[in-house]
Amino acid sequence: MGAQDDLNVSSQAGKGADSFEKRLADAEARMRGKNGKSEMSTTEQGDKADYSAFGLAMRIGTEMVAALVVGVVLGYGLDRLCGTKPLFIILFSLIGGAAGMLNVWRAVKNANV
């Protein structure tokens, strides 16, 4: 009987996606009631725990260098293009360094270490 219901619902192509979302939400609500924990708290825990400390350490160095490299390459390219030799490379290496710091800050911000 349950399988029959499923078939009927999925064959109604027009509202198939909607009803699936609705059934999923209903099922999740039922599960929440059973386990006595909310969905929000699990996703937040997932956010915090999604790095092992070692994985994070591997990340940080390259995050910082990569933005600087992109900045220098962009600056060099713009200089070659516009013929303004030292202007853009200076500007973009500074911005690249700042972007690298931003990357590191964002990587560390959510980590629980």
Binding site: T42, T43, G46, D47, D50, Y51, S52, F54, G55, M58, R59, T62, E63, V65, A66, A67, V69, V70, G71, L74, F92, I95, G96, A98, A99, G100, L102, N103, R106
Partner: protein
């Protein structure tokens, strides 16, 4: 590769045609060969693992299910509800890189993840998918992310270039991290193996000393096993994080 008194640590990364005449004609080198092997290994692992489909899984089936669950949890917990849509993509990326890293540790094999061409291609694929997903889920609201909310307007000329550079640095950091880690590991292994040969060439006393680099190489191989899975994990989790930002709001 390390003969006599020189150590040719980078020779292992050279590409040569394989499979004789056919490989010569097709310019088919070790790199695509080992990619094919990696794909076959992953598919065989999943197919053979799940073929019994037992309620109480055997070892191989348990491993396949663990791999599936691990990535599925990673995708759904990091990306959110839309994670199921991207799960096959993340799964493929993780196991392709993992298989590549581990295949490279087998003697006489080749590590295709130690070539920056390969890692850049993978990183650009992730980058493009995340951009396309951004447009799909957010439309042109995507561009508002380059201006942090609540920042004073007069700082915009400074903040927007920084945000754009930070965004553009994603594929660079993804690709450099994987490539550099794999290449550095294999260079180290080669260098210490070279030390062993050089010491062994010094006579009886040298042969005794030559044990030390072998011991280090054993330890390095263990480290490489860790780095191999960790790099695949970092690549996959960053893919998830970029996709989460793409589908969010």
């Amino acid at each position: 590769m390390a003969a006599g008194s020189t150590i040719d640590a980078l020779g292992q990364f050279e590409l040569h045609p394989v499979l004789g005449q056919i490989g010569e004609a097709l310019r088919f080198s070790q790199s695509p060969l080992f990619m094919l092997i990696a794909v076959v290994v992953v598919l065989a692992f999943l197919y053979l693992g799940m073929r019994p489909a037992a309620v109480v899984p055997g070892r191989l089936q348990a491993a396949a299910e663990l791999g599936y669950d691990f990535i599925h949890n990673m995708a759904t917990e990091t990306i959110g509800k839309e994670g199921t849509a991207f799960f096959p993509f993340v799964f493929a990326i993780f196991f392709f890189i993992l298989a590549g890293n581990y295949l490279g540790l087998i003697p006489y094999s080749f590590t295709f993840t130690s070539h920056i061409v390969v890692t850049v291609s993978l990183a650009l694929l992730v980058f493009l998918v995340s951009i396309l997903a951004s447009f799909r889920y957010q439309g042109f609201k995507f561009f508002t992310h380059f201006m942090p909310e609540g920042a004073p307007v007069f700082l915009a000329p400074l903040l927007i270039p920084i945000e754009i550079l930070s965004f553009l640095s994603r594929p660079v950091s993804l690709s450099i991290r994987l490539f550099a880690n794999m290449m550095a590991g294999h260079v180290l292994l080669e260098v210490f193996a070279g030390f062993t040969l050089m010491l062994a060439g010094l006579g009886a006393f040298g042969s005794v000393l030559a044990v030390a680099p072998v011991v280090i190489n054993v330890a390095l191989t263990a480290l490489e096993l860790l780095v191999g899975v960790l790099q695949a994990y970092v690549f996959a989790i960053l893919t998830c994080i970029y996709l989460r930002e793409a589908v969010a709001h």
